[in-house]
Amino acid sequence: MSDFLSVNIPKFTSVFSAIGMFFIVLAVLFAIAGRANGKKARPIALVIFLAPSLILLLAGLIIPAIRTFLFSFMNPDSNAWVGFDNYKWMTEDPNVKSIMVNTILWILVVPIFTAALGLLLAIMLDRIKHESIPKSLLFMPMAISFVGASIIFKFVYEYSEPGETQIGLLSSVVDFLGGTPKDWMLSKPLNTFLLMIIYVWTQMGFGMVILSAAIKAVPADIVEASALDGASGWRLFRNITFPMIKGTFIVVLATGVVGALKVFDIVRTMTGGNFSTNVLANEMYSQVFVQFDQGKGSALAIVLFLLVTPILIYNIRSLRMERSHS
């Protein structure tokens, strides 16, 4: 215990002194700059308020992004140009092909399931009493890290040899239904879909919550008017409600696509990218930090960027637009 204290008290002192220093520097800057009068006051204030952000963004995002772009045309150690070799490697290597196939599977399956399930539950939540309890339990997995969620599902997907007790829920259920449990993480292509379930489990709540808000915001008079016109049930939903929440639905889909493209933690924790489950973001990490090939890693990052950009632009735009209207 005393060991523990002697190691960890300095950590806390360092964190509190860092935060303290941060605020002291700010206070001193504010005090000094606040004394400036006349014409200089405004530019000085501007610099103090804005410069920290601009410097950090320049050093942390803008310059690194440009360098990553350059690295993608260079060798593993980033000290000689290799032209398009890293991109050519992507089109030729069979492993990369399997990675791309998996990534495409992820961006096709995951968003559709997340959004469809979210929509279904949002509609049903609207129809029940005490909706807040199921709503918050369904939303709860969003607070859990992908690593935590993966471990939760490691226990669900656990497999024991025949004859031993199956402690995994999935194996038990399959056993109970008369099937034969297998080592789920080794069974391709099922394993990729089992990993997707983990993602859907954590993210479905997001779609449900914003779709639920969108449904509640559909003006009552429109619905009433069309109900008077004889629309009901499925037709009312298809012709009136859904068109009014379509924008939100697409945002949920697009968020799912971006999330599925960037998925890394789940694959790394569950299979390490083995057994044909590898995806783009995990391969990017492995190329850089396992293979020590900054060139290929950077090229993969560029591909990720190119795939994410159009969706993200659309998504950010419509999400903001929606929010500014409400």
Binding site: V15, A18, L46, L50, S53, G60, L121, M140, G148, N315
Partner: protein
């Protein structure tokens, strides 16, 4: 939202009867909750029982123990975790607090400048920062790591006075701060720009400068927005794996608990007790935040969902 007339007659009305809806919602809720419950029950079982008896059987045959937690927190029972996860838990707190406070404060300042100290080009800068949201984390990792380890050839020595911060806490605070800024500035700008203009002008007429206006008017009025974004950032950092793996070495000195947990999964011989109790300790903090601050949590998560 409150200004809109909330539908009395629900639009989804006759699509499902409320009985079917109730059943489907509650069945889904149970299915959704079972995996977490399984982990919780498993974490209270003795090591030898975990493999011999499924957790749902143990529920009706309870012989629970805190031994997993004792072993995982304080260590001693295996090589991979000789000192327990407590040091990593401490690291997570040490990483998360500054990595939440720094970007929020810096972003609030920038948001104020862009909203209320107008100058030529302020619209352009705001749009540019907004657009930076599309740069994925993966684009910055390698060059930023090179900058921390190998120093700066681009004259940023003054920006990073302590080079060699790779593997240090500062080397994790800084990337988290940088990556948080575009979204935080954008969201806070929307919030701060909507504060009443009269208030600002009255303060300036009374002789207050920008620093005073920022402290006395903008900060107090922005607390709800700041709280939501801070909670989102807190969870983002606590649950992050990629930044931690890249910038923190896996050691007990700096690695956060989430990345330690990830490394335990792959290690041969790390038992189920370690995994289950370790995972529950890791997710306990976000779950507490979730259940106690749910309103802010939802607002922050929805705002930050495009990150």
């Amino acid at each position: 939202m409150s200004k809109l007339k909330i539908a009395n007659h629900n639009p989804g009305r006759k699509l499902f009867s409320s009985k079917i809806a109730t059943v489907v919602v509650w069945v889904t809720t149970v299915i959704w909750t079972i995996p977490t419950l399984g982990l919780l029950v498993t974490s209270f079982k003795a090591d030898k029982d975990i493999l011999n008896e499924p957790w749902w059987v143990s529920l009706f045959n309870p012989h629970f123990t805190l031994s997993s937690y004792k072993g995982v927190l304080f260590g001693g029972d295996s090589e991979s975790l000789s000192n327990g996860v407590l040091p990593y838990f401490v690291n997570s707190i040490v990483i998360t607090l500054p990595a939440t406070i720094f970007p929020i404060v810096i972003a609030t300042m920038a948001a104020y400048a862009l909203a209320w100290i107008r100058f030529r080009g302020s619209d352009f800068i705001f749009f540019f920062i907004f657009a930076l949201q599309i740069v994925p984390l993966q684009m910055s990792l390698i060059p930023l790591l090179l900058l921390f380890t190998g120093g700066a050839h681009i004259g940023s020595v003054t920006v990073f006075p302590a080079l060699g911060i790779a593997g240090d806490f500062a080397g994790i605070w800084l990337p988290h701060t940088m990556f948080a800024l575009p979204l935080a500035i954008y969201l806070l700008h929307n919030f701060i720009a909507s504060l009443p203009r009269d208030l600002m002008e009255a303060a300036h007429v009374d002789g207050a400068n920008h620093f005073k206006v920022f402290r006395m008017i903008v900060l107090p009025l922005s607390i709800p927005g700041i709280a939501a974004i801070a909670i989102f950032q807190f969870l983002w950092v606590w649950n992050d794996l990629l930044v931690a793996l890249t910038f923190a070495s896996g050691t007990e000195e700096v690695a956060p608990i989430n990345s330690k947990l990830a490394s335990l999964v792959g290690q041969y011989g790390s038992g189920y007790t370690q995994l289950s109790a370790g995972a529950f300790i890791t997710i306990a903090v976000p779950l507490i935040v979730f259940f106690s601050l749910q309103r802010y949590f939802v607002r922050g998560l929805l705002a930050g969902s495009v990150k």
